[in-house]
Symmetry: C2
Subunit: 126 residues, 2 copies
Amino acid sequence: MGILRKTKSVKILLEEFDKKSSAISAITLVERLASELNKTTVYRVLDKLEEDKVLHSFLGKNGHKWYAKCNGCSVSGHQDSHPHFQCSDCGKVDCLSTDVLIPKIPNRKVDVSQVLLQGKCEECYV
Amino acid sequence: MGILRKTKSVKILLEEFDKKSSAISAITLVERLASELNKTTVYRVLDKLEEDKVLHSFLGKNGHKWYAKCNGCSVSGHQDSHPHFQCSDCGKVDCLSTDVLIPKIPNRKVDVSQVLLQGKCEECYV
DNA sequence: TTATATTTGCAACTCAGTTGCATTAGTATT
DNA sequence: AATACTAATGCAACTGAGTTGCAAATATAA
Ligand SMILES: [Mn+2]
Ligand SMILES: [Mn+2]
Ligand SMILES: [Zn+2]
Ligand SMILES: [Zn+2]
């Protein structure tokens, strides 16, 4: 059922995602907000913001959870199947708008695709 | 430095991968072999078999570790950047030989790509 | 202002994976 | 075949991301 009330926790978390457009790991949010919010609350609010399609989540290269703002998404149409890029130098993670075409796989029906690219980001790329 | 000795543990683990060609999660191996091998040993031998390019690893949809036999890989040329497919029905995970083409990403240098597809496998696909 | 349900904090838990260390067992040498 | 050497193993304890149950706090509607 998602977010029902505009609580302090919701506002604090949304502010973090307004500050910059790149993705933020749950771990980072928990430690960055440790003085204001409880760990459990952070995880629970992130969950609900995802249900509400305000954020979307994916797994980074260690299998840890990352969240990013949904861009072209509404409740009617949710577009979270884009690739993500994690910089091996600075660790920054971004949503990519470039489409990765998944070819037809023989004898299989593909429903979901997760693409995580790694390399150097714009700032770290000499 | 990888595997140096042909121990009982190495043989037991390699047998599991000879039985069938699909990938096996570390969790499954730990519990399946619990009566013969210690959990720590399973993880350590898997690590070394990967160093030796006998196996390769990747993360499944929950961020848990999976291993599969390397097919066209030698020590000189290791090809582990193929896509993987996890069946949402039966849970089976396979290496795919179909190539997923990663387009050029503006201002970024892509070194590694992880592609995990989910859907129905050949047996579960009606 | 009161009533009600949602949200929060806390502490304890889960579980995949790791680490330190003493013991065991491959392997090469005699 | 016995010895010495070192890698590999088992065990127990640990780590850390994420979860759960429950009582207290707080947003919202009446
Ligand atoms: Mn994204
Ligand atoms: Mn594979
Ligand atoms: Zn970078
Ligand atoms: Zn299946």
